[in-house]
């Protein structure tokens, strides 16, 4: 019986840095390091981050921590850079031509953008769920099994991995009798839970969610929100949402971003305030945060 939270059998549970820089870094890279940290320690430590697309500075002056086993929400108006920032955590911006990151993001104390870091392994540990559910054009079973199989899981373990992942994503009861049917036959909400199950099947550390409920009806949204609360016992969640009431309901900490227009008319996103969600929504420190969350400014 495979415990989906233990390292997948057959895969080396070692570094995500392809060549250890030093003993310190190698030690930090192992699964072991994660176990030694206590809950609510920082998983990511961001310092003076800036993101550029070519000459265009999309984001500036971002410093914050993402704490373990917490839900951190990014809110703010369109164009404020919150999705850009989210994609920094799993190096998805690497795939955009001309994108570059300045400043620093440490992941469990290691520089995420060090040239020796393997971005593929990063994306295994830091999973992502997108706004529009995007299951593979495969069966429900194969959607979940794909990642573990690629990572070297034994055929005999796949059934358990699939069941555990679907259970964890609160989808098992609805699909257990049709695992071989196409994922496209599921409703939008079910497809999104399938995508969450797919992300957690490869035992990530963090799950990033980019507007995961925007395409869903209120009932499906409620189920995903309930699931997010349950997942924090095992994972760290970072969620971008344009629905600040959702951020208020589901998150432990909230970061508010806004857009600044410079002299040349360029819009650059910046972090205005970050803090405990209850404090942000009852007594924010910055008047710009208050103006946004009370709806006085779009």
């Amino acid at each position: 019986m495979v415990n989906v939270n233990e390292p997948i059998a057959g895969r080396r549970a070692e570094s995500f840095v392809s060549v250890p820089i030093s003993d310190d870094v190698a030690a930090m890279n192992t699964e072991h390091a994660t176990d030694q940290q206590s809950p609510h320690d920082a998983v990511f430590a961001v310092e003076d981050l800036e993101v550029y697309y070519g000459e265009f500075r999309a984001l500036k002056d971002v410093s914050l921590d993402i704490n373990m086993h917490e839900v951190t929400a990014f809110i703010g108006p369109s164009g404020c850079g919150k999705s850009t920032f989210l994609r920094c955590f799993n190096r998805m911006n690497d795939l955009i031509e001309g994108a570059r990151v300045e400043g620093r993001i440490d992941y469990h104390g290691v520089d995420l953008y060090d040239e020796r870091v393997d971005p593929v392994e990063v994306r295994r540990r830091v999973g992502m769920v997108f706004q529009k559910p995007n299951p593979f054009p495969k069966s429900i079973y194969d959607n979940i099994a794909y990642g573990p199989k690629l990572a070297g899981a034994k055929k005999g373990d796949l059934d358990d991995i699939v069941e555990r992942s679907l259970q964890r994503a609160a989808l098992w009861d609805e699909v257990k009798d049709r695992l071989k049917s196409s994922a496209y036959g599921l409703s939008g909400g079910q497809q999104q839970r399938l995508c969450i199950a797919r992300a957690i099947a490869v035992q990530p550390d963090v799950v990033l969610m980019d507007e995961p409920c925007s395409a869903l009806d209120p009932i499906a949204t409620g189920r995903i929100e309930e699931l997010i609360g349950e997942l924090t016992s095992d994972y760290t969640i970072v969620i971008v949402t344009h629905n600040m009431q959702q951020a208020a309901r589901v998150s432990d900490r909230t970061a508010f971003f806004s857009v600044q227009l410079n002299d040349e008319g360029m819009r650059t996103g910046e972090l205005i305030e970050v803090g405990e969600t209850r404090a942000i929504f009852t007594n924010p420190a910055d008047s710009r945060t208050e103006a946004y969350i009370t709806g006085k400014v779009g």
């Binding site: 409620g222 929100e225 309930e226 349950e230 208020a248 209850r278 009852t282």
Partner: protein, 237 residues
Amino acid sequence: MSNDETRTQFQTLLEQLRTDLVHMGAMVIEGISAVTEALLAVDVAASDQIVTADDELDLLSLEAEEMCIEMLALQQPVAIDLRTIVTDLKMVAEIERSGDLVTNIAKAIPRIQGVELEPRLRGLIDRMREQAVKLFGLAIDAYSEGDAGLASALGDLDDRLDDLHNDFIDTVFSSRTDRLLTTQQAVQLAVIGRFYERIGDHAVNIGERVQYLVTGELPEHAGAQRARARREAESAG
């Protein structure tokens, strides 16, 4: 997770708040009995303890109020959830004020030192205690069970407490006339009687809030309707 359950964390918080308010109500009920015992014995040491114990109720009231505000900010409650939180906010005020009235009785005890309370007065104080405890207990039960029927019966019980209060005042002043009490002592006792009567009023208010929670209606709606009708008649005429 049952696939049908959502917002379970929010519902858990609401239940916790209800438990906390019931606990606070129980503290007031215990306080009414304790302060009456201290009053009948004119026990100043006991009265000091009761005054200090009110700090705990103040702390719990503050925490409950903060919880209500947090839920309003973070959970966007509507319908029954909104009425629940609004009711709970009002309940905190009623319970906390009732605790203050117990404290006020306690603070008055040193001012009647040296008084020999005659049997008629002792009897009436004890009956006011009994009625106030019963009334407040039923109000908290009505809140805990969401029982609008029980809540609507509290007005009649409060009438009984009001009668006892009136008898008490009459007896205090006849004791004054018989020179069994100084003017100062008579006034203090009359004020103490008023405190018991006010506790009963708060219990009735709690009952009204429970009716609002269950039905969405308040007694004030009847008077408000009459006022609206008069307004319309005046603007038409």
